[in-house]
Amino acid sequence: MTTRPYPWLIPVLLATITLVSGLSLLAGKVWIAPEALFAGDERWPIIAELRMPRVVLALLIGSGLGMAGAAMQGYLRNPLADPGLFGVSATAALGAVLSIFFGFAATPFVLSGFALAGAALAVLLLSIIAGQSGSVIVFTLAGVVISSLAGALTALVISLAPTPFATGQIVNWLMGALTDRSWDDVMWTAPLIAIGMGVIASAGRALDALTLGEAAARTLGVRPTVLQAQIVIGVGLIVGASVAAAGIIGFVGLIVPHLIRPLTDRRPSAVLLPSALAGALLLLVADSAVRAAPTVSELQLGIAMSLLGAPFFLVLLLKMRRLIG
């Protein structure tokens, strides 16, 4: 068995993203001919105001989640790690659910603000619980605790919802979707995700060193507390912004690094950028599919991802079982 990175991986991903983005702008419940891509056409507003922000948001969130997943797997040295593991997505969701509970669902920016505050709270709690230890185990357990607590509180809020309509709104939001998103959503999501990705990219070398275990990594110049802060802030920004903009979209961060890793030399840093690109592509394809699917009401993106992700996870488990057995 040998590993051989594929030099064409990034160019192919970029080319495919460009192609699918173009198609995604044209496809939908109504197919728009390519001529409309040139300004002046009366259908141009459909593309510029409805489809384009949605495509950009899918690319942003997909790339962020893909990279966050690759970083989490590298940091925890576990191929089954997922960006949701730290509890950031659960607390961001709790924040958003609370804003709906208090009747702010339709007020611009309030829901996103609540979700981001939830994500920030998770990051703060993680830092307090895990403290200065830099220990991966304490950190993971802290994430699990925060995640379950936020999950329980979310269930409590749903059960206390004032009207069945509010309950419906909450449940619907939790499923995750990119429907009816505007350029305003892109404007505040883009910088948060971009900074998060930058922070994660700066941890690439430390993640590579961690391949040799914590002790060896420290002797290669890695400072565990700095690395931990980079991961918490990077993943926190990406996941917080993603959940605030689109609800919980699972599996992207889990699946994508798996698909990408065999096409690289398998160093955690080598998986980061292609995972971002493949994550963007996956979410764009999934979102375009749910948008163009001939269903009466649109299938939620979060559900589509889970429908796609669960069988993948099963195949992964069966493969691992074969390797172990």
Partner: protein
């Protein structure tokens, strides 16, 4: 030979409250460049703790470690990484990386902002040549035999061109031939001017291969000097509870035989 690393009165205590126990007490040691030092002692003697202090992995409760005259704590993590190579007892390799990628990880503390340069490539090539790992550079580490794996892990440390090489039980899990090969390799490293410290369990190897033996027991250094002077039958009987005999082989080289509990 010049002093490379010095420790003064190193003490480490583990546990809390009444259960707090000293695992290292008053360890004072001077390591020199070009010398192979074997740290030996029974299980729980404090060998790995001492090595962790030398590597900067554990901060002693009291005492100091200086590298080239500078306190280890004054060096940045990166500088320490550039100057000290450390091979842990249970070396892990978490992803299915190939040997070339593994060895390149040893250059991480040296690399510039934009990745590997010509100097890094040369150091990697030289480490792979020294350990004879180039022939299987494309193979995944998890598919290597124990001997190949040990060489690849050593190549990773050598790629960093450390002034001081610290290895915690590098001979564990190796068959006798590979044990000798590994010791031959670290000898070459010392001949190249680096200081080498090995935690060893095999007294015969310490006797034969080290320039100097540091014998530990109960967290203290009980003897430090040339192998013949430290590894006396009386001392080994007192500390390990086994009978030992110094012999001279046909080629005149010294050897040691253990004959059982005493």
């Amino acid at each position: 030979m010049s002093a490379l690393l010095q420790t003064r009165d190193l003490s480490v205590r583990l546990g809390t409250g009444a259960a707090r126990k000293a695992v290292l007490s008053g360890a004072t040691l001077t390591l020199r460049a070009g010398e192979v030092t074997a740290i030996i002692g029974p299980n729980g003697a404090g060998k790995s703790t001492l090595l962790a202090c030398l590597a900067g992995l554990r901060a002693p409760d009291s005492g100091s470690v200086t590298l080239g005259g500078l306190p280890l704590t004054r060096l940045s993590a990166r500088e320490r990484g550039q100057r000290i190579g450390y091979l842990p007892q249970l070396a892990e390799v978490n992803w299915d990386i190939d040997v070339a990628t593994l060895v390149a990880l040893g250059r991480l503390p040296h690399q510039g902002r934009w990745g590997r340069g010509a100097e890094d490539a040369a150091a990697i090539a030289s480490a792979m040549a020294a350990t004879d790992t180039a022939p299987f550079s494309g193979r995944v580490v998890s598919t290597l035999s124990g001997g190949e794996r040990a060489r690849a892990l050593l190549a990773r440390v050598l790629a960093g061109e450390p002034e001081l090489l610290l290895a915690d039980e590098p001979l564990a899990n190796l068959d006798p031939r590979h044990q000798f090969e590994s010791l031959g390799l670290v000898r070459k490293v010392a001949d190249g001017g680096a200081g080498v410290v090995l935690v060893l369990h095999d007294l015969a190897h310490a006797r034969r291969s080290a320039d100097r033996v540091v014998l530990m027991d109960g967290g203290r250094i009980v003897a430090d000097g040339a192998p013949a002077a430290v590894l006396t039958p009386d001392r080994i009987a007192a500390i390990y509870g086994v009978a030992s005999h110094s012999v001279t082989l046909a080629d005149g080289s010294p050897a040691m035989v253990l004959s059982g509990p005493c």
